[in-house]
């Protein structure tokens, strides 16, 4: 079956856009081919520094013939409408079919040649391509991410002819910009294309480029008894900056090792896209770096290594200047400057925000650890935690916020717990980041996030759909993780609105679902009106385990049956209230359930009093047999009104008893 090869060769595509572009190209081609009834056996795309490539295997030569049913005008419509429809379809009136007062035509369409469809498809894709930013160049109106230079479009060994804004399709492409002949060459099909690119020093597949970089960089390091510091994000980026990756190991002046390692690593990564290198014995940074060049240089990379080392020295000299200057100013003396930094138009300056975080930290501290030292250290750390935002190093490297504050606090000789709290107060920054657990640090980290949540909810900036510009979901998840890992009994209602509480419930559901828990159980636990996340999670866990047992599942069924009966009876008139009592002559099963109710009630309140939810579930489990037996043998709707009322009371008693543990009506299944 024929193959389609498409290459869009352009000037250098930003590295961060390549992977998405390859995905978009694949999606658009697949959708458009399918819409034409053309189903490829395989479709693959590649993104790189200068080219987007698509190969579709096993396409038919022609589109299959198709019968299409077209809807026409109503039979009651004026004649002109019908005439128009007949003109459009090329049919006569007797060829139409009437269904429910509407004319329908069946049109037979001959399948078109695939090449013809491909030509239209490529033009459409280029026109509609969703680049995050695009541009025009020269006198052309064609929008692309950077100027588009060549189009290779070969189907079944033949060029698919078309042109886009003066760029004709063809079967000619180019290899590496600097290596090899740099002469354009012809390609027959994908295998020929991939092989010739390799010969012309282009590694087409980004995964292959990454593998080559890692393997060669590690080998370089290993030969010098060093170890590459892995960085997946950086690897993705550098693999998009080069067509022929060649790692080069360079030397850094060891004198720079007195800078904080985060500063060195960030300068290498952000400014220079270098990998850091460490000493495998000590785990500390070594005075070297690995840059990924785009050429195998004539001198084996000596010039490249020297040049890059010089640039790195200049960068690190700048960083050292800031680092030295920054430590001359106490964090406390920077606070005034925060008044000039806007946090949010409606929420005031960063200085205002710090004041709020301090109050929040003071309010939270007793729940984290109830002593004066925690409270005063948390307040001190909170007041200084944003001061590094106006320091030189953070101005240069915003991602080092917090970390630098920690270093400056340390240099000032502040209390180690305060230092730790400043350093870690942004944590956790994502699902894989660790959580501050030491009490001062946990307090400030909580205060930072709760202030964000309370403030933005206060001005109505709640996340909607995929829009969460202030990362409130991450903040709420951070609160949840800190509270749970420190087992902090934080009454959230004291700090936020009902809206915010519901938002937490939502986030908790996501978190528990990711851990494999049932999210309906979170609803069942939240419905009790509790705002203590530690207690809620303990309840959810015990509930999950209970419902997985035979007793749990059966009791849930009994509960639902009781609730259904009560609901049905409620429609007839008000339900009797109060406690079901022992009555002479009542069936043994009824008496047994009353006894079980009382026994369970006693052990339940003891267990709940101790927040022993496993015990509470055991207490409920004891109800399962009596409940089953009751439904089995006893008719609730007795003709004797007193009997009926007592039994309804009993069902309500059981329901309410269970309701102390969770709202079982929220549990599905």
């Amino acid at each position: 079956m024929p193959q389609l090869l498409l290459e869009l060769l352009s000037e250098e595509i930003p590295a961060r856009m390549q992977a998405n572009a390859a995905r978009d190209l694949e999606r658009m081609a697949r959708e458009r081919l399918l819409a034409e009834g053309l189903l490829p056996e395989a479709l693959k795309t590649f993104g790189g520094a200068r080219r987007l490539t698509l190969v579709a295997e096993g396409l038919p030569e022609r589109q299959p013939d198709r019968h299409e049913e077209l809807k026409g005008p109503k039979t009651s419509a004026p004649d002109q409408a019908l005439e128009g429809f007949l003109r459009k379809t090329g049919l006569s009136k007797d060829q139409l079919v009437e269904k429910d007062g509407v004319w329908f035509a069946t049109v037979h369409r001959h399948g078109r040649a695939t090449a013809e469809i491909v030509a239209e498809m490529v033009q459409g894709i280029v026109r509609d391509f969703p680049w995050p930013k695009s541009m025009v160049s020269g006198v052309s109106k064609l929008r692309w991410v950077r100027p588009l230079r060549r189009i290779v479009c070969v189907f079944d060994g033949e060029i698919v002819p078309f042109q886009i804004e003066g760029i004709p399709s063809g079967d000619v492409t180019q290899g590496h910009r600097f290596m090899g002949s740099a002469q354009p060459f012809r390609v027959k099909d994908f295998d020929d294309y991939a092989e010739k690119l390799q010969k012309h020093h282009v590694v087409l597949d980004p995964e292959e480029r990454k593998a080559k970089i890692l393997e060669e960089a590690r080998t370089l390091c290993f030969a010098r008894n060093l170890e590459l510091v892995d960085d997946a994000g950086l690897l993705d980026e550098v693999a998009g900056l080069v067509e022929w990756p060649v790692p080069v190991l360079g030397d850094m002046d060891p004198a720079f090792l007195d800078l904080p390692p985060e500063v060195i690593r960030t300068s290498m990564r952000v400014h220079q896209r270098y990998f850091a290198v460490r000493n495998p014995a000590t785990g500390k940074l070594a005075p070297h770096f690995v840059t990924i060049a785009n050429i195998a240089a004539k001198d084996g990379g000596r010039t490249i290594a020297t040049g890059n080392a010089k640039v790195l020295s200049a960068r690190l000299s700048d960083a050292r200047f800031f680092w030295n200057e920054d430590r001359k100013v106490r964090l406390e003396d920077r606070l005034e400057k925060l008044k000039g930094v806007t946090f949010h138009a409606k929420l005031g300056s960063m200085y205002d925000r710090v004041q709020r975080i301090v109050s929040m930290a003071e309010a939270i501290a007793p729940f984290v650890r109830d002593d004066d030292a925690t409270r005063s250290k948390a307040a001190e750390a909170a007041s200084l935690c944003k001061a590094d935002l106006v320091s030189g190093v953070v101005g240069e490297f915003p991602e080092l916020q917090g970390i630098m504050g920690g270093y400056y606090a340390e240099a000032e000789g502040l209390d180690p717990e305060v230092v730790d709290a400043i350093r870690h107060h942004y944590k956790p920054q994502g699902p894989n980041d660790d959580v501050p657990v030491q009490s001062v640090a946990a307090t400030v980290a909580l205060a930072d996030k709760l202030d964000t949540l309370v403030s933005f909810f206060g001005i109505g900036e709640k996340p909607t759909g995929s829009r969460d510009p202030f990362a409130l979901r991450r903040a709420a998840l951070g609160v949840i993780r800190i509270v749970l890992s420190t087992r902090t009994r934080l009454p959230l209602k004291q700090f936020g609105s009902d809206d915010l509480l519901a938002f937490f419930a939502d986030r908790l559901k996501v978190q528990l679902r990711d851990e494999g828990q049932r999210h309906d159980l979170v609803d069942a636990a939240f419905a009790l009106g509790d705002d203590d996340l530690v207690r809620i999670v303990a309840r959810v866990q015990a509930l999950g385990e209970f419902l997985a047992t035979d007793d749990g599942a059966n009791l849930l069924a009994g509960y639902k049956r009781a609730v259904n009966i009560l609901r049905a009876e409620e429609k007839k008139g008000p339900l009797p209230t109060g406690v079901a009592a022992a009555m002479t002559g009542q069936p043994a099963e009824e008496a047994a359930l009353i006894a079980a109710r009382d026994a369970a009630g006693a052990s339940l309140s003891a267990a709940l009093g101790n927040e022993d939810f496993v015990g509470a579930m055991q207490a409920l489990a004891a109800l399962r047999g009596p409940v089953d037996a009751f439904f089995d043998k006893v008719l609730v709707n007795s003709d004797v009104e007193a009997e009926r009322e007592n039994r309804l009371r009993l069902l309500a008693n059981v329901r309410d008893l269970m309701g102390q543990v969770a709202d079982f009506s929220q549990v599905t299944g």
Binding site: E11, E12, P14, A15, R16, A49, K133, S134, M135, V136, S137, G138, V139, V145, R146, P147, R149, R177, F178, L241, V242, V248, Q272, R273, Y274, T291, A293, N294, I295, A297, K298, D299, T303, I304, T306, G307, N308, K310, V311, L312, A314, G340, V341, T342
Partner: protein, 308 residues
């Protein structure tokens, strides 16, 4: 002279020979871009912060007319003054500016040819085009392109202009901006800008150290903020007044008006260097300059300047 007879080696390994002096670098660039059909212009004679801000770029890239120029622009950055004591921060550095409108299809190749012309061999050095979306809010301009890296050092800002003064640039102009001091430090393998050979007779320091010392003291300490503020207000009033007038051919006086925008911009930079611009005022000043610039750009496009 004898060596010149065997000049092949100089063409292949110029880095091994005596490196280009600062002025030699400029001459090579002039020679190369002149051969590409560019008019080699003299620096614009108003204080300017960057080569882009010259009217030879800002105004001339607007409108339908083709344009090809190359020039050196002394670029004043008062806040970067370091009294001549910092090895590479300067109150005034030099930018080499090339504009080709419409940008030819082979602009990247032309640019790489220019690197070879000044002795940067792409078989030896790692040349990379790294995403950099250029934007200058004070003149309402933006474009897409790259910073070009040579062995990890940014040597050129390469941009396809999309808008200037808030107006679409079409045909599109390609802009190359080269920081001459930085490139020269690289070519001469020096650490300190004042040690650069300007030519065989003078160092960069011989020529510019006094300027750096005096202008740093002026711009960071001595310039009178009140005077600057008053002059800024004067410039702001002058621009619309000048634009309201008409020349002999009936055109608005966009060029003289734009000079006044440049002056306002430089006054703002001095006030900024003096630490007299509060964070809250900053955006407002930039917005005012942008508005003035936009008025000039519109007047330029609407009149003969843009169309003839």
């Amino acid at each position: 002279m004898v060596r010149r007879l065997f000049c092949a080696c100089e063409q292949i390994h110029p880095m091994h020979d005596k490196p280009l002096s600062f002025q030699g670098l400029i001459l090579k660039l002039h020679d190369y871009w002149s051969r590409q059909g560019c008019a080699i212009l003299q620096p614009y004679d108003v204080e300017i912060g960057a080569g882009t801000l010259s009217p030879m770029t800002v105004l001339r890239t607007l409108g339908p007319k083709p344009w090809k120029v190359a020039y050196v622009q002394p670029s004043r950055r008062p806040a970067d003054g370091r009294y001549g004591e910092n090895p590479n921060r300067l109150h005034q550095h030099h930018q080499y500016q090339v504009i080709l409108k419409p940008n030819p299809e082979n602009l990247q190749e032309l640019y790489l040819g220019c690197l070879e012309a000044i002795g940067i061999d792409p078989g030896l050095h790692d040349i990379r085009f790294v995403e950099d979306d250029w934007e200058n809010p004070t003149v309402g301009a933006w474009g897409l392109g790259w910073e070009v890296w040579c062995d990890g050092m940014e040597i050129t800002q390469y941009t396809y202009f999309q808008q200037v003064g808030g107006l679409d640039v079409f045909p599109v102009a390609g802009e190359l901006t080269i920081g001459l001091e930085r490139l020269s430090l690289y070519l001469q393998n020096k650490e300190n800008v004042y040690d650069l050979q300007f030519n065989d007779e003078f160092t960069y320091g011989d020529i510019y150290l006094a300027n750096e010392q005096q202008f740093s003291a002026f711009e960071l300490e001595t310039a009178d903020v009140e005077t600057c503020k008053r002059q800024f207000a004067d410039m702001e009033r002058e621009v619309p007044r000048i634009l309201a007038a008409r020349g002999r051919q009936g055109q608005p006086l966009a060029l003289p008006a734009y000079d006044h925008v440049l002056k306002a911009s430089h006054l703002f930079n001095i006030m900024d260097a003096r630490g007299a611009i509060a964070v809250a005022e900053r955006q407002s000043y930039i917005g005012r300059i942008r508005d003035l610039c936009k008025m000039c750009a519109e007047a330029w496009v609407a009149s003969q300047g843009g169309n003839a």
